[in-house]
């Protein structure tokens, strides 16, 4: 089935390729985009539309599955196959699809409520199974579609319609949660930083297995400026830690800040005014087998967003569920091709007449 050249996306080794050059326009549909003006979802959509041509896949072999939420509208705006399913369950549908169709590139589009509240269980199971699916989690730290209740990523004490006196529950850190759930690929990006977002999308698409991409997304209606610290040109460089595999974790406007490891306790911490050759500066290793390092990275930032790592936290390889399933099936088929009549008759049949 495969055509064209494999450009190095192992996740799509079995997905038919196209030789026809594609552009973002090819991925647009005739449906009017219906997000609020100014919503961060527009930027993400544009980044996805801009990136997909790079995959070089046939459009008909790409499938977008979403749950419910503002973000979940995205499939309608991408000229691929798509399903806008029900709240929290897109991951389950994607699992069945990916398990049966190696020739498809399957994406899940979800929100912080969809993925982490009602859909939390399916997400963690998807990650542990390592089904070949790329999950884009639009985290606006609020329920947009239902008009502004707090979400499992809202900061403690959040005042919303449903919590007029402030929310009471500590939020999830989606990256920590994913790592605790045996995820093989975890990354974070920001809606407005198109370049970094595209690079994370690229890495996620490249990964064979489940990829979780948390995208900080501004909901300008119900949670405006939630990520201002990481977007405002005056502050963003001081609080954003860009993760590049093999590179030291230096950041800050003038690059004098860094993540260092305490030699005694082994703990990671941000530090100011770090010498260029300070040996304590951590060199980023997204491929570490042990997720403890990536987990420690994920703890650098809390819900106040100070010291937020952005980029790929972890990318390791492990057999995917769908692959293993296909192997079992094809081995059985080869060894012992299906003789239906034999199955029905069984070993103990007898004849009458």
């Amino acid at each position: 089935m495969s055509e064209g050249v494999n450009l190095g996306f192992p996740a799509f080794a079995d997905v038919p390729r196209t030789d026809v050059a594609q552009s973002a326009k090819d991925f647009k549909t005739d449906q009017e985009v219906r997000w609020c003006p100014g919503c961060g979802d527009y930027a993400i959509l544009a980044a996805v539309q801009g990136f997909l041509p790079e995959l070089g896949l046939r459009r008909e072999n790409i499938v977008m599955i979403s749950g419910i939420g503002c973000s979940a509208r995205l499939p309608y705006y991408l000229n691929t196959y798509g399903m806008h399913s029900i709240h929290g369950r897109a991951t389950t549908i994607a699992t069945g699809l990916a398990a049966t169709r190696p020739d498809l590139s399957v994406w899940v589009i979800t929100g912080d409520g969809d993925a982490l509240s009602i859909g939390g269980n399916h997400l963690i199971h998807l990650l542990r199974r390592n089904v070949n699916v790329t999950v884009l989690l639009f985290n606006n730290r609020i329920y947009g579609l239902t008009k502004g209740q707090y979400s499992p990523t809202s900061e403690l004490g959040k005042i919303t319609k449903s919590t007029p006196a402030g929310s009471l529950d500590a939020p999830f850190n989606p990256v920590s949660l994913a790592l605790g759930a045996e995820a093989t690929f975890v990354a974070r990006a920001i809606d407005s930083d198109r370049k970094a977002l595209t690079s994370v999308l690229r890495a996620a698409a490249r990964h064979r297995g489940s990829s979780l991409v948390e995208i900080y997304q501004n909901c300008n209606i119900y949670n405006d400026d939630a990520f201002a610290l990481l977007k405002d040109p005056n502050t963003r460089d001081d609080w954003t830690i860009r993760l590049e595999h093999g590179e030291p974790l230096r950041f800050g406007r003038d690059g004098t800040k860094a993540v260092i490891r305490d030699p005694g306790s082994g703990a990671l911490a941000p530090a100011e005014d770090v010498d260029a050759d300070d040996p304590r500066v951590v060199v980023h290793d997204a491929s570490a087998e042990d997720p403890s390092y990536a987990f420690a990275l994920s703890r650098l930032s809390g819900s106040d967003l100070r010291y937020t790592p952005v980029g790929v936290f972890r990318s390791v390889s492990r057999p995917t569920y769908d692959e293993l399933m296909r192997e079992q099936v094809s081995q059985a088929e080869k060894a012992n091709g299906g003789d239906l009549a034999g199955l029905l008759r069984g070993p103990d049949a007898w004849s009458v007449g």
Binding site: P16, T29, Q31, R58, R59, E60, N61, I62, V63, M64, I65, I68, P75, Y76, N79, Y81, G82, M83, H84, S85, I86, R89, T91, T92, I93, A94, T95, G96, L97, A98, A99, T100, R101, D103, L104, N121, H122, H125, M325, Q328, V329, Q331, A332, E333, A335, N336, G337, G338, L340, A341, L343, L344, R345, G346, D348, A349, W350, S351, V352, G353
Partner: protein, 629 residues
């Protein structure tokens, strides 16, 4: 000693013992021997909810009942002619079902003070005369078995474990069952432990010989093979038949079968069985819960596979929301509900027919789903094939209802030839279907005018890229639409599609043989699902007594066969026996305004033929009286 041989036309035998005593295995083997011999048969296994309830207790008793005959039969029998009781608890738990005069074979080994007390026997029933109206054969079978196996070098405990094979040997002798199958079976089952295999075979022989030689057993019985229609037969349980039905249907459709399921009694065995047949391209996915199970199945269907999910009542409750999605997506999907006694956790190992209303109505909004029900273990195969036919033809989720009684019960099943199975080949959409001037596009909700089914265009098909979802869709294009008139159209179209399935199913067949004077019945009994056997047996009994009664059994519950109302209205009385509080009866009353009489039982047990006989009889008399007024 030459023993007397008596002829019997039918025998009901029940094996009962501790859950650890291997009674299910014993019953299975006896069933297999009986099947091979050519009797018609029907079985009813029954086991406790606990994995291993404490030994020697009443809740720990496991039993297996088998009815076999020289003619066609329909139930596992109302009451055992022979009870094999391996301990005091087994005797106590089953004695009330045993009619006077029946034979009881008891292992006396555990009939000691403490063990008797444990189950509430104040004195030893074997010696206190309380069993005087039965033919009791009491012997220390455990002791005899261990002695017979002394030479095998097993521990006492290991040797004692073979007592079930001793008992099996004994009754196999008693009923002239062929032994070779069991011997082969034991050898292959214990292939890795030849000593155990040999010991079990020896125990079996010892039991056989015990019957042959002991004076206690003066008579053995012969039950001639039944005159079944010509064909190849095998013994099959409902869950296996259902699994095979799914595989066969997928093969006949040329689609991969994908099962998304979460284990639950009594449905788990379908997952287990299908997991063994990857060679037919079957993929089984044990999901994290029922919602994920059906979600994955639906995802597979979207991708062009035959998506199936299997569960029991609590799982259906959880799947409701996704079933609603499937209704509006109009994708094929099979939902198998192996019903058990509810509500809530209820009695997981006991059957009931109480999910019919859930299947009909358990979704928000107007979300009609076709329903097919199986009537006997072997029929689970055909019901599954039919349910798949509807799902594929009409692009709709379909309920397939079975229950714990069918799931584990077994009967001889006429193995169908593969080519006799319906051709379920599917035409996927491959081309644009909507033309606007020169522009061609694909509309996912343009329907087949005949079936009202929408096209199934699977990802990977070039040019047919489309998006579908749970929000109301515009007729034709499938785009999101909040247009009031469109919503009304779509709601009514989905309903019409399901109603229209009636055109593809056979008319309701009423069995109403005229009597010598050419008169037909006043009373019609209508059933559905697993009560078929008991109803048929009950009907036969009253007919044998010279009374007239008509019988109809519904395979399709939604839609009902087109002639259902007409049939119902042509009888003076309609009675609907159900293992619930009257669910089908309510449907028939609402649809046809027929004053159907209900006969309901919710005890986690099937109907007995005798109880239905009585019900039918009194209704026939009532109806006759009416007629004379």
């Amino acid at each position: 000693m030459v023993k007397q041989v008596e002829q019997r036309d039918r025998v009901v035998i029940r094996f009962a013992g501790d859950s650890g005593d291997g009674m299910q295995l014993t019953g299975d083997r006896f069933t297999q021997e009986t099947a091979t011999f050519g009797n018609d048969l029907s079985t009813l296994p029954s086991f406790p909810a606990e994995i291993r309830a404490p030994a020697g207790t009443l809740p720990g008793v496991s039993s297996f009942q088998l009815h076999f005959a020289d003619h066609d039969i329909f139930t596992p029998g109302d009451a055992p002619d022979v009870l094999v009781a391996m301990n005091p608890a087994a005797l106590k738990a089953n004695i009330n079902d045993v009619p006077r005069g029946a034979t009881i074979i008891v292992d006396t080994h555990d009939f000691t003070g403490r063990a008797l007390q444990k189950v509430g026997y104040a004195s030893n029933p074997l010696t206190d005369d309380s069993l005087s109206s039965f033919q009791v054969h009491a012997a220390d079978l455990t002791e005899i078995t261990t002695r017979a196996l002394e030479s095998f070098g097993l521990s006492r405990k290991e040797a004692a474990r073979a007592k079930n094979m001793f008992a099996l040997g004994l009754v196999s002798w008693m009923f002239h069952r062929p032994a070779q199958g069991t011997i082969d079976f034991l050898k292959s089952k214990f292939a890795s432990r030849p000593d155990i295999a040999a010991a079990n075979v020896a125990a079996f022989h010892a039991g056989w010989n015990y019957g042959e030689t002991t004076e206690a057993f003066a008579v053995s019985y012969e039950v001639r093979p039944a005159a079944l229609p010509a064909g190849t037969y095998r013994n099959i349980t409902g869950n296996i038949a259902l699994s095979y039905g799914l595989i066969a249907a997928a093969q006949r459709a040329g689609l991969p079968l994908f099962l998304g399921a979460y284990p639950i009694t009594p449905a788990s065995d379908i997952l287990h069985e299908l997991a063994r047949h990857k060679r037919f391209g079957v993929r089984t996915f044990q999901a994290e819960d029922e919602i994920a199970g059906i979600g994955a199945a639906l995802g597979a269907s979207f991708g062009g596979a035959l998506g199936v999910t299997t569960t029991s009542g609590p799982g259906i409750a959880l799947k409701s929301e996704t079933i609603g999605l499937a209704v509006t997506l109009e994708l094929p999907l099979l939902i198998c509900d192996i019903q058990r006694a509810g509500p809530s956790t209820g009695m997981p190992t006991k059957p009931e027919q109480s999910d019919l209303m859930l299947a009909m109505h358990g979704r928000h909004g107007e979300a009609p789903v076709p329903i097919v029900a199986a009537r006997s273990p072997g029929d689970c195969f055909h019901a599954a094939v039919e349910a798949v036919r509807i799902a594929l033809t009409y692009r709709t989720p379909v309920f397939l209802l079975s229950d714990g009684y069918l799931a584990n019960g077994s009967e001889p099943w006429a193995v169908p030839g593969v080519s006799e199975l319906p051709d379920l080949h599917v035409d996927f959409a491959t081309e644009p279907n909507h033309f606007d001037g020169d522009a061609a596009s694909f509309w996912p909700y343009l329907r087949d005018p005949d079936t009202l089914a929408r096209p199934w265009a699977v990802p990977g098909t070039p040019g047919l890229e489309h998006r579908i979802g749970g929000i109301e869709k515009a007729d034709g294009s499938g785009n999101i639409s909040y247009d009031p008139a469109n919503h009304e159209l779509m709601v009514r179209t989905r309903a019409a599609k399901v109603a229209g399935i009636a055109r593809s199913i056979p008319a309701l067949d009423v069995d109403d043989p005229a009597d010598a004077d050419g008169r037909t019945a006043d009373v019609l009994v209508v059933g559905w699902g697993s009560t078929f056997g008991a109803i048929t047996a009950g009907v036969r009994r009253v007919r044998k007594r010279g009374m007239r009664i008509a019988q109809a059994h519904l395979r399709h519950l939604n839609p009902l066969p087109a002639n259902t109302g007409e049939m119902l209205r042509s009888y003076r009385r309609v009675v609907v026996p159900e293992l619930n509080l009257g669910q089908l009866a309510g449907m028939l009353r609402a649809d046809f305004l027929v004053d159907a009489v209900t006969y309901n039982k919710v005890r986690g047990q099937p109907f007995r033929a005798e109880e239905l006989e009585n019900v039918f009889e009194s209704l026939i008399c009532d109806a006759a009286e009416d007629a004379h007024v």
